[in-house]
């Protein structure tokens, strides 16, 4: 156990040194770090609990995905039946399906054929699985179209992907450093934005669907009348966002929608000096807007964002240039955020915030300090105790543990892992347990020596017997760390990572470095008795 060939010794030292050196880039200043060659640009990321920032989990609501799909099916069914000139009544959403009654029993087969075209294969036309996203069934003269759960699921997954793109565009506009936006499971999006002072603005940006529409205001009756009685067909009552909310009677037909915007910028109205958002339509949008305003001069139209009326100006003259402005008593920041939302586009479905964790920069800095002090105090106490108990061998153990910690940070950097406060606790605990491998070896050496072996033979036997135990005991601890990694999230996962890496480096140093150092000492001193 005590013989090392030169090459082996060199390899052990080289591997340890290289892994330790991987930690160095994390310590450099940003400019020095940037000047490194790209393969060295790997560093430890501080968790949000240490650098401050927001962690937000958004969820796509499968229920609203289903609802949107149902509305779409209803509209498509109406179009298809109308195009095929089939008479129908009672086309409406009933629970989880769209139902329609065909007037003439002879038309039912034809209607069925037409409506079946609305069911699309899941995963697009190229999919070979052959599953459809909608069930079309017949009961007498009634035909029901129900989205299948597989269809809703695939739409949810699609909605998540689209939302991620849009959220990324929105957050990029905030100008924060290194936001991370990831899919989490089938229906969630995890957003991490470091160094954000105020998460309420972030949440406002994420929580809005930002569906912008331009629609005409219906003047045939007052909104109050419409609320009390029956609103005219094709209209609905929407309110403004102010306090108290003002109701408007709005036509359901959309003149132009947010998809047709090419640009939106915050600005100021030249005459009132009020913050506004100026926008430009694409060709299609500009043409439709021009036609609509030409036909309706003198009537008010409404600008609607997520079912709230922002403003309802009167069309004084046809707007032909394809650009315009939205004013709505905005603050500068509100105008700014609305412009961001309009530029990034609308989310395909509303998102819900299901989890939020924000740490202010002050607490983060305190945690770093606390973690640092605890590490230094813990390591010092353990190191002193080891020297007091084992003398020179204690020093060897301490060197091994120091290299061990260096390697933990090196590996963390190589993996680009995140260091959290529980992660720092994991390092401190590793220091506590890493010396255990040394203790096991040393105690075994003492035992063997007491049993009457010569110094060198005792050391040799001590190592070979203790190493088996070290392996067994660390594998079980590693299993616990691995489970924790799978179960945990955020800071807890940070703990699992450092703890797990710590166990691996501990076993490595026990098998190589400690043994090498003791072997060198034995060769140099030729001890007659064991010094512990």
């Amino acid at each position: 156990m005590l013989y090392f060939s030169k090459w082996k010794a060199f390899a052990i030292l080289a591997v340890s040194a290289i892994i330790c050196l991987m930690a160095v880039p994390s310590l450099l200043s940003q400019s020095a770090y940037d000047s490194l060659p790209s393969f060295l640009q790997r560093k430890i990321v501080l968790g949000l609990d240490l650098q401050g920032g927001s962690y937000i989990v958004l969820q796509v609501d499968a229920q609203s995905v289903r609802k949107i799909r149902l509305e779409q099916l209803r509209d498509d069914a109406r179009r298809v039946l109308r195009d095929a000139k089939i008479g129908y009544t009672g086309l409406a959403i009933q629970g989880d399906a769209v139902e329609v009654r065909i007037r003439d029993g002879q038309d039912v087969e034809a209607a069925l054929t037409q409506l079946r075209t609305l069911a699309l294969p899941i995963g697009g036309a190229m999919s070979t699985a052959g599953q459809l996203d909608t069930d079309v069934s017949r009961d007498g003269n009634t035909i029901a179209l129900a989205p299948t759960s597989a269809g809703v699921q695939s739409r949810t997954i699609q909605a998540v992907s689209q939302s991620i793109e849009i959220i990324r565009k929105r957050i990029d506009q905030l100008g924060t450093t290194e936001p991370s936006i990831q899919r989490q499971g089938a229906d969630r999006i995890q957003v991490q934005v470091p160094g954000l002072q105020d998460p309420s603005r972030l949440k406002a940006l994420l929580g809005q669907t930002a569906q912008l529409t331009f629609r005409l205001v219906d003047n045939t009756m007052s909104p109050q009348q419409a609320l009390q009685g029956r609103a005219p067909a094709g209209t609905e009552v929407l309110t403004s966002q102010g306090n108290p909310p003002v109701p408007y009677l709005i036509e359901q037909r959309v003149l132009v929608a947010g998809e047709d915007l090419t640009d939106a910028q915050p600005g100021f109205d030249p005459t009132t000096r009020e913050p506004v958002v100026t926008f430009r339509f694409n060709t299609n949008g500009a043409r439709r807007f021009a036609e609509a305003t030409q036909a309706n001069v003198g009537r008010p139209f409404a600008i609607i964002l997520d079912n709230h009326v922002i403003s309802a100006p009167v069309i004084r003259e046809p707007i032909l240039g394809g650009s315009g402005q939205i004013s709505g008593n905005f603050t500068v920041q509100e105008a700014n955020d609305l412009a961001i939302l309009l530029r990034a586009g609308a989310l395909p479905v509303p998102l819900q915030v299901v989890e939020e964790r924000t740490v202010g920069p002050g607490l983060g800095a305190d945690s770093i300090r606390a973690g640092l002090i605890a590490s230094i105090v813990g390591a010092t106490l353990v190191a002193l105790f080891m020297v007091a108990t084992y003398g020179l061998f204690g020093v060897i153990a301490n060197i091994a543990v120091a290299i061990n910690v260096g390697m933990i940070f090196g590996l963390l950097a190589m993996l680009g892992a995140t260091l959290t406060l529980p992660g720092i606790a994991g390092v401190v605990l590793t220091v506590g347990i890493a010396v255990d491998s040394n203790v096991l070896i040393y105690e075994r050496i003492r035992e063997e020596a007491r049993a009457g072996r010569s110094a060198i033979s005792a050391i040799d036997a001590g190592f070979s017997r203790a190493l088996a135990t070290i392996l067994d005991s660390n594998i079980t601890t590693f299993i616990a760390a691995a489970v924790l990694f799978y179960v945990g999230s955020g800071p807890v996962r940070g703990f699992a990572i450092t703890f797990g890496i710590g166990i691996m480096t501990t076993v490595f140093t026990a098998f190589t470095l400690t043994r090498l150092m003791v072997a060198l000492w034995v060769r140099w001193q030729r001890p007659q008795r064991v010094p512990i």
Binding site: V353, R357, S367, G378, A425, L484
Partner: protein, 321 residues
């Protein structure tokens, strides 16, 4: 230099006979822990219960806790806990989960902010909705069970089944006592507590395995030694290591408890209890004596070895024509 020697060489303490005291003590403690768990319950944090947590700081002694309390109570948010922490004008505010699903939770922070007004530093805000808290709880429970199961399987492969079972019983004992401790002292039970429990599990096993390893080694070597004597010798010969390692782990944990900051305080305290008080005790006084009841004995081992030798012999005979 004279080296520190905590445990004298060649101790001969009769740990195995001590089981007549340690087993009843453990049984009693486990009952106390279970009673505490079922009567007092765990102090679930927002990770598992859902709700909102805010940590705020009032600069330069402007904190008036009574004022904060009356402002927040006027909001009508249901159960609100207000706790002064540290001496630095810091307050921890916990608002219970609001009825009305995910969306309802989002209003709380805004209301609290409006009620507290200007001049407050928001150091931490956490909102966990009902869906996520449910999931986190089930993940935590599944995780603990998975860990125990995986470790059981590993030990079964690596040792005899008696050892695997003994270690698992000892493990269970550790978890029960630690959960009882958390119930009695109403320590926050959140995700980091699950981490603490899993780590305690790992450590306690680590200890148990060091002793089991030695028992296995002795069983192979001393086939004639009476079982109790052999178990005692194994525990005694690893005693020095057990104690020294526990001193080092305690030192590391002490640093975390004293200086690690509030964010991991409940984690550190739980670990201190589980690792330092329970873990070592379990491996020495519970896990090892248990082996007697599980049928580990020098005779059984000798018989088994004989059988194996015989079958190897007969195989050899069959092979030799």
């Amino acid at each position: 230099m004279r080296l520190l020697r905590i445990v004298p060489d060649d101790t001969t303490f009769d740990f195995i006979r001590f089981r007549r005291i340690s087993f009843p003590i453990s049984a009693l403690l486990s009952i106390v822990a279970l009673v505490a768990f079922f009567t007092m319950g765990l102090n679930f944090g927002i990770d598992f219960k859902g709700g909102t947590l805010l940590e705020v700081r009032y600069a330069n002694n402007t904190l008036n806790i009574g004022d904060v309390r009356s402002r927040l109570e006027s909001l009508d948010l249901g159960e609100v806990q207000i706790q002064e922490i540290g001496g630095d004008g810091e307050v921890l505010i916990r608002v219970a989960q609001q009825p009305g699903g995910e969306q309802a939770q989002q209003v709380v922070v805004g209301k609290v902010r409006a009620a507290l007004g200007e001049g407050v530093e928001y150091r931490r805000i956490e909102v966990v909705g009902p869906r996520v808290s449910q999931e986190l709880l089930s993940y935590g429970i599944v995780g603990l069970m998975m860990a125990v199961f995986c470790i059981l399987i590993y030990l079964w492969f690596r040792f005899e089944w008696q050892f695997a079972l003994g270690a698992s019983i000892a493990n269970f004992h550790d978890i029960v006592l630690t959960i009882g401790f958390m119930a009695i002292f109403q320590i926050d039970f959140d995700l980091t507590s699950v981490a603490a429990l899993l780590t305690i599990l790992g450590y306690s096993l680590n200890d148990t395995i060091v002793i089991y390893d030695r028992i296995r080694e002795m069983l192979r070597r001393y086939k004639k030694m009476p079982t109790e004597e052999l178990l005692n010798a194994s525990i005694n010969s690893t005693l020095s290591r057990s104690v020294i390692t526990h001193v080092t782990v305690t030192l590391a944990l002490l640093a975390l408890v004293l200086f690690g900051g509030r964010a991991i305080h409940s984690f550190s305290v739980t670990m201190m209890f589980g690792v330092v008080l329970v873990g070592t005790y379990t491996s020495i006084f519970i896990a090892s004596p248990l082996l007697i009841y599980l049928g580990v004995s020098t005779r059984a081992m000798a018989e088994k070895a004989e059988k194996e030798a015989k079958s190897a012999n007969s195989k050899a005979e069959r092979l030799a024509p």
